[in-house]
């Protein structure tokens, strides 16, 4: 029995077994998740003032479901996310292949330009979009659904596809160029080599990049907030306006749904980006 509790003595570099470090990390992990967990748990709380638990209910989910404008905002956000994911995955993959494959003058400057949407403050990009769509192109108001969402979608593509490019580019950095040469050596042409050898290797990066683009688009508040025209409603903007008034279980319920979607997608993306076991060192 005692064997179970016997542990090897700590080495000088066994920092991960220092008790105070473990307590510290555990406390931080709890603090990181506590607010989100309470949000999720109290979305099932049968009370409007959600500090005290008054019993389990799903009525706020029903209420959220029956809130037409909330549902409309949700559908809009999903539509924007799907559309921008498709476009930004294609654009991002093309850029990634270009950066992986070719050398050209000012390549470093070009890469820096591609990274700009990632690094500049969101608020700057947000107000730029506001100015662009309201003063230059005009909002696609009055266009048929889903085309009335095209302004937000275009903005989302602009800030998501550089992320996709980075993810795919990082994946391709591990590609053994001899695989490509082997394929050609065995008689395959460029096209066959791309689809039979390069793309299968690239695929996890493409999927991870697409999931990333989807979550980024779904999560974005600031840019969407500024890009939404007078009457396009998106989920974060709707939640924002609800939150400004009060904390209600209905918002908790809607948020919980979004949290679950993002967490699942993120977990899948992380799995795909994990080091590939099929690779030969």
């Amino acid at each position: 029995m005692l064997e179970m509790f016997k542990r090897a003595p700590q080495g000088p570099l066994d920092y991960s077994r220092r008790l105070w470090l473990r307590f510290f990390a555990a406390a931080i992990f709890v603090l990181l998740y506590l607010p989100i967990f309470t949000l999720v748990i109290f979305s099932f709380n049968d009370s409007k003032r959600n500090v005290v638990w008054r019993g389990f209910t799903t009525k706020y989910y029903e209420k959220a479901w029956n809130n037409d404008s909330l549902i409309e905002a949700f559908v809009n956000s999903i539509t924007i996310a799907v559309a921008s994911t498709i476009v930004s995955t294609i654009l991002g993959a093309m850029i990634a292949i270009l950066l992986w494959r070719f050398r050209f003058p000012f390549k470093a400057a070009y890469e820096g330009f591609m990274a700009l949407p990632i690094v500049i403050p969101e608020i700057c990009m947000g107000v730029a979009m506001l100015a662009f769509f309201s003063r230059v192109t005009g909002y696609p108001t009055g266009w048929m659904w889903p085309f009335n969402l095209s302004a937000i979608t275009a903005a989302h593509i602009a800030f998501t596809f550089p992320f996709v490019a980075i993810v795919i580019r990082a994946r391709m950095a591990g590609f053994n160029r001899e695989l490509e040469e082997a394929s050609k050596d065995l008689g395959a042409n460029e096209w066959q080599t791309f689809w039979n050898v390069i793309f299968p290797y690239m695929r996890p990066g493409v999927v991870a990049g697409a999931l990333l683009a989807f979550t980024l688009s779904l999560d974005d508040f600031v840019i969407t907030f500024f890009t939404s025209g007078p009457d396009t409603l998106t989920f974060p903007v709707k939640v924002y306006s609800m939150v400004r008034f009060s904390v209600t279980p209905e918002v908790n319920a809607a948020s919980t749904i979004l949290v679950i979607i993002t967490v699942v997608l993120t977990l899948i993306a992380m799995r795909l980006q994990a080091p590939d076991k099929t690779e030969v060192a």
Binding site: S16, L21, Y33, V51, V127, A128, F132, T215, L218, L267
Partner: protein
């Protein structure tokens, strides 16, 4: 190449260029702005005490929050990179996952924690009453945790801390652990080893993390908007107000370009600092 570049030029560079142009303009009517080449907007931002105070406050709040992020993230990154290999991905995931949850939702979750009748005060009251302090000092007074600078700083740290872990973890992970063994072997204490070997060798990661976190904090809008009171506003909120309520686009544009210049400056510092360490790049 062409489609991606064209997209960025049209939907990113062009909008920024418009804002840049507007920052040198004047409002002529409610919906018209004339580009006159004036520098008044920049002058106003850098001379009016009201805005100087906000810029100053944005800077110190961001700097303090960044420092707090480092203080929390470094031990965490350290622990993860010294953990057993099979635990690393899980621990990293635990830290990173909140970062992917909607910023708005995370901030909203904090409101529920911090407000007068929120979980934090509720918990404090419970402790207060359990210790029977109410007999000594009277009934529990809820602490004002929300709508002040404290809430903004706590919110920024909460929101951006995971982002700090990534570069720190990468550089600690890359650190050859035999340097630490060598230092201990040569007679240095654990803390001496930490300050003289670990910190200098992971400095590129520290600098990267500080700057990657500082930039979005300085430009943050949502966190001070929801958690801060009327006097806990940051530069992002002022920019938003110029473009929405106040309808003074030229001034808002000038402010956002000032923010961009600070961003570029910070990025330049980062590339200089990381470029110099080409021997041990991170």
């Amino acid at each position: 190449m062409i489609p991606g570049t064209a997209w960025l030029v049209l939907f990113f560079l062009a909008p920024l260029a418009i804002i840049w142009a507007i920052s040198f303009g004047e409002n002529t009517s409610l919906v018209k702005t004339e580009i006159t080449g004036t520098l008044d907007n920049y002058w106003r931002a850098l001379s009016d005490v009201v805005y100087l105070k906000i810029i100053w406050k944005s800077l110190w709040i961001s700097l303090l929050s960044t420092a707090l992020c480092l203080a929390i993230a470094y031990p965490i990154s350290f622990l993860i990179s010294f953990a057993k290999d099979k635990w690393k991905p899980l621990l990293l995931m635990i830290v990173i996952l909140p970062f992917w949850i909607n910023l708005l939702i995370r901030t909203y979750a904090l409101i529920a924690v911090f407000r007068t009748r929120g979980f934090a005060n509720f918990g404090l009251e419970w402790i207060y009453n359990t210790l029977q302090l109410d007999h000594l000092f009277g009934a529990f007074e809820p602490l004002p945790l929300l709508y002040n600078n404290f809430a903004v700083i706590a919110g920024l740290v909460y929101v951006f801390m995971p982002f700090m872990v990534l570069p720190l973890y990468a550089s600690i992970e890359r650190l050859d652990k035999s340097y630490l063994e060598a230092s201990l072997d040569l007679g240095a204490s654990q803390s001496r080893t930490f300050w003289s070997v670990t910190v200098p060798l992971t400095m590129p990661g520290i600098v990267s993390g500080l700057i990657l976190v500082f930039i979005p904090m300085l430009g943050s809008f949502l966190t001070p908007d929801l958690l801060g009171g009327t006097n806990a506003q940051m530069i992002g909120n002022v920019i938003e107000r110029q473009f929405k309520a106040a309808n003074d686009w030229p001034f808002g544009a000038a402010l956002s370009f000032l923010l961009m210049y600070v961003t570029f400056g910070a990025l330049a510092i980062r590339s200089v600092l990381s470029g110099r360490k080409s021997g041990m790049e991170v």
